[in-house]
């Protein structure tokens, strides 16, 4: 079994540096994640911060010049984003660059990436204690556009809506990007205050994944973070509710295909050993092309192109989603629930179980080949408070019993039925 090969060092009060060094990559990637509870009051302004920070630094305040500088380092990428993990909002900034050995003029690219990232996070452009008004106004609009454009991808829109209905009243029910009316109220000063609060109180996880020497980045970031005032907040990354209360929600829109999402509570925490059985059960149910949902709802009944089940590990939830013709919604829903009952009743063969295991083992053993997947994996481990390498996880999956899978299915409770469908009950046929 391969070791947990992520090295973790404390580099400040509530600040951690995690590194995975692997010769197979041709790049080095460093990210800084600022983690705080997801709260309606702060979600919008927190979500705005990464977009403002990535636009320049005190030493290179002009966005165009900053972009040019990154391009000269062979297209170094300064990335920014917001994700939700459990009950938390995670604001991430990253720098990603090809390894020094590929530089055409021997530039120290990894060191530059560390310096640039430290400046992006800690030395933004400020005027009299506030962000620049133009930056704030432009990034507010950009964030509003992002929130509004969530409806463009109907499948993900439906999944997000199901999540917010299912978790209504919980922190996880708050939109990670915030709300348009709240974004509009942000001022250069209120954003600066939120930024200061973020640096002072957030839990900070730095991740390094690459083929270079992580100490080059570590020293720079450790030094940079030592100069800020810290007073980290204490909070739980996740809470898992057990009770399910059946909710039904329908949105109507001018769409050709309806989207059905079923949201379940698995009642299992990410740091609970039973989580592996939940994952395996969901793979058997609808996680692979040999799963119950794929073989029945798609292949046998020809109702859908996609019909899949997946967990939200950090919240003890699971979702099944499909795209289906309006008149087939009830048929699809009945079959999806019937297949779950089959698993609850133990109606699956040893072979089916073995196939689900093999598929999961394969996906765990594939994590290491992608620097992005490795970063995501270890950040999750750190946030869940677990210490599993993908290889260790693969071994655990292989040992799960049939009964544990049945039990996971029995414990799974339907909570939310979300439907996105056409304006009226008639099926929408035309397109322009």
């Amino acid at each position: 079994m391969e070791q947990f090969n992520c090295r973790r060092t404390r580099i400040g009060d509530g600040i951690w540096f995690n590194s995975v060094v692997d010769g197979r990559y041709k790049t080095n990637r460093i990210s800084v994640s600022l983690i705080l509870p997801l709260e309606r009051e702060t979600a919008s302004v927190n979500a705005l911060i990464p977009g403002v920070l990535r636009k320049g630094t005190k030493s290179c305040p002009d966005f165009t010049e900053f972009s040019k500088k990154l391009a000269m380092f062979y297209g170094m990428r300064v990335g920014y984003g917001v994700t939700a993990v459990g009950d938390c909002q995670v604001m991430t900034l990253s720098a990603d660059v090809i390894d020094d050995s590929y530089a055409l003029n021997a530039e120290p690219l990894l060191k530059e990436a560390g310096r640039i990232l430290a400046e992006v996070v800690l030395e933004p452009v400020m005027e009299e204690g506030a962000f620049r008004e133009t930056d704030i106004e432009l990034e507010k609009q950009s964030l509003i556009d992002l929130i509004e454009s969530e409806i463009n991808e109907k499948r993900y829109y439906a999944l997000n809506r199901a999540m917010s209905v299912l978790c209504a009243g919980e922190p996880a029910g708050v939109n990670k990007y915030g709300y348009i009316e709240d974004v509009k109220k942000i001022s250069p000063r209120s954003a600066a205050e939120a930024y200061a609060g973020l640096l002072e109180t957030a839990r900070i996880e730095v991740m390094f994944v690459g083929c270079g020497d992580p100490n080059q980045a570590k020293q720079i970031l450790e030094q940079a973070f030592s100069e800020i005032k810290r007073n980290p907040r204490r909070f739980d990354v996740f809470t898992v509710k057990k009770e399910a209360v059946l909710k039904e929600e329908t949105d109507r829109m001018n769409v050709a295909q309806s989207k059905l999402v079923l949201g379940f509570r698995t009642a299992v925490r990410p740091d609970d050993e039973a989580i592996d059985a939940v994952r395996l059960m969901l793979a058997l149910y609808g996680g692979t092309p040999s799963s119950k949902l794929f073989l029945n709802v798609r292949e046998k009944m020809s109702l859908c192109y996609y019909c899949a089940a997946r967990p939200n590990v950090s919240k003890g939830l699971a979702f099944v989603d499909c795209g289906v013709e309006h008149q087939n919604i009830e048929k699809a829903k009945a079959e999806i629930l019937r297949q779950l009952d089959c698993i609850r009743n133990g109606e699956f063969t040893e072979e089916e179980l073995q196939h689900a295991k093999l598929s999961m083992v394969n996906s765990f053993r594939s994590v290491g080949d992608s620097a992005g997947a490795v970063e995501g994996w270890y950040l999750s481990q750190v946030l869940y408070g677990t210490q599993n390498s993908p290889e260790a996880e693969a071994e655990k999956i292989a040992g799960i019993s049939r009964d544990a899978v049945i039990q996971a299915a029995v414990n799974m409770k339907l909570d939310t039925v979300y439907l996105l469908t056409a304006e009226d009950d008639a099926e929408k046929g035309g397109k322009a």
Binding site: Y74, A256, S302, S366
Partner: protein
């Protein structure tokens, strides 16, 4: 069989290339330190191959739109069952995709490479279509098409292609339409299969963690020798002018989406690769995030972070596409045309070319990071008729003079079009 080891001293990369006795071109690219292997079995057959004949056919056949994609779905089925059930035995993750000019079958695995590799080679060589299985698939693909009907990013792109191209089949949807796939039957699938799934028209590429000798042994065992085939594809006489300058559709979106396209003269082999790289550099000099235009558009709220540009190219088509979201897409179009004119007068600054070239080179290096990217690069380079590392070295060697020359005949306003997805009017 002549095995050739292709080595790149600068990049310290190498792979094996040979033509198997069956007629199939093979690329084996082992990658040290990786856990997974990724195998691609592809045919030079995509949605644009709508009219063709072989030497044994009397006449050209026109096939309904979406046949290549339909065939991709159906090939997973054999008399014994679904190919997915084979891969389920090894845990490998199998899939397939159809693009404009190729269809590829693939799997990725960390263990049991030999078995999965055998399955891949077998099922692609073993067609089985019946009237009943074809009918079943019409329901599934029908839902796939309906899903894309609702995807504004997909629609805006295809509406642009419809505007740019008069006749070239790149203008039709890869999956076809609900009506066109209703005209597909088992006989037609067999005819297309026996034309394009001849090993002489195909390529096999494996990258990542696998044993070369083991892979070669499986290839020897599984490949059925095929008589060479000569496929004639009817090429359309596509003018450089655009079919129309404007395409609009309404869908459920909050902010209008746009694609602005410039039709370019397609080339082949190295000339095409050079064109792709030079156009990418040119587009980024004019409208990339380090450009004055990007800054002006962003600061005036005309574009947001979704703005991007890319070269769209393949067999017989080449275009430059700028896309994103904007409340006033037509003003973005105007500003872009103005900026192009500005560069025509002032010339392209050499330092801009140098800068953008470096980021294009960096992107090409990143392309060797993942096993799937490497396997895909092997297949697309082969079908394009260029070497795998040509992209990286050509990118590193571009000069400002190359870009000036390219610019003198590209990004022409009269060969451009805009496609817009507007919010549904209430």
């Amino acid at each position: 069989m002549e095995y050739q080891t292709v080595r790149d001293e600068k990049l310290k990369e190498s792979y094996i290339e040979y033509t198997h006795s069956s007629g199939l071109k093979v690329f084996l690219y082992p990658m040290k330190g990786y856990s997974t292997a990724y195998a691609l079995f592809g045919t030079k057959y995509g949605s644009i191959d709508t009219c063709f004949k072989t030497d044994s056919d009397d006449d050209f056949i026109d096939v309904p739109e979406g046949v290549a994609h339909f065939l991709e779905h159906k090939l997973f089925e054999s008399e014994e069952g679904d190919a997915f059930t084979l891969f389920a035995k090894t845990g490998a993750s199998a899939n397939a995709f159809t693009s404009f000019d190729k269809t590829c079958y693939l799997f990725s695995c960390a263990d049991h490479f030999k078995e999965s590799f055998g399955y891949l080679l077998s099922f692609v060589q073993d067609p089985y279509f019946t009237a009943q299985t074809v009918q079943k698939e019409q329901g599934i693909i029908g839902q796939e098409i309906r899903m894309y009907d609702d995807e504004p990013n997909w629609r805006v792109f295809f509406n642009l292609l419809t505007a740019l191209y008069h006749k070239h089949p790149v203008r039709i949807d890869i999956a076809g339409t609900v009506d066109s796939i209703a005209r597909i039957d088992d006989k037609l699938l067999y005819r297309c299969y026996h034309t394009f799934y001849n090993l002489h028209n195909m390529v096999l590429a494996v990258a990542g963690n696998f044993d070369v000798d083991e892979a070669m042994a499986v290839i020897d065992e599984k490949l059925k020798p095929a008589a060479a085939i000569n496929i004639e594809r009817k090429t359309v006489d596509e003018p450089l002018t655009v079919a129309k300058h404007d395409a609009v559709q309404q869908l459920e979106v909050a902010i209008p989406l746009f694609n602005i396209g410039f039709k370019e003269q397609p080339e082949s082999r190295m000339a095409m690769l050079k064109a792709e790289i030079e156009l990418e550099i040119l587009m980024k000099v004019i409208a990339g995030s380090g450009s004055a235009l990007y800054r002006r558009l962003y600061d005036s709220g005309l574009i947001n972070d979704s703005f991007e540009c890319e070269v769209h190219s393949g067999r017989g088509y080449l275009s430059c596409i700028f896309g994103g979201e904007s409340k006033e897409p037509r003003r973005v179009y105007e500003e872009l045309l103005k900026e192009i004119e500005h560069f025509r007068k002032e010339g392209i600054p050499a330092e801009d070319v140098e800068r953008v070239k470096r980021s294009v080179y960096g992107k090409a290096i990143r392309g060797l990071n993942d096993v799937d990217d490497v396997a895909n690069l092997l297949v697309s380079s082969y079908f394009e008729g260029v070497g795998v590392f040509d992209l990286i070295h050509t990118a590193a060697g571009v000069t400002p003079a190359d870009i000036e020359k390219r610019f003198s005949f590209s990004l022409q306003a009269d060969r451009s079009a805009i496609s817009v997805i507007e919010p549904v009017k209430q």
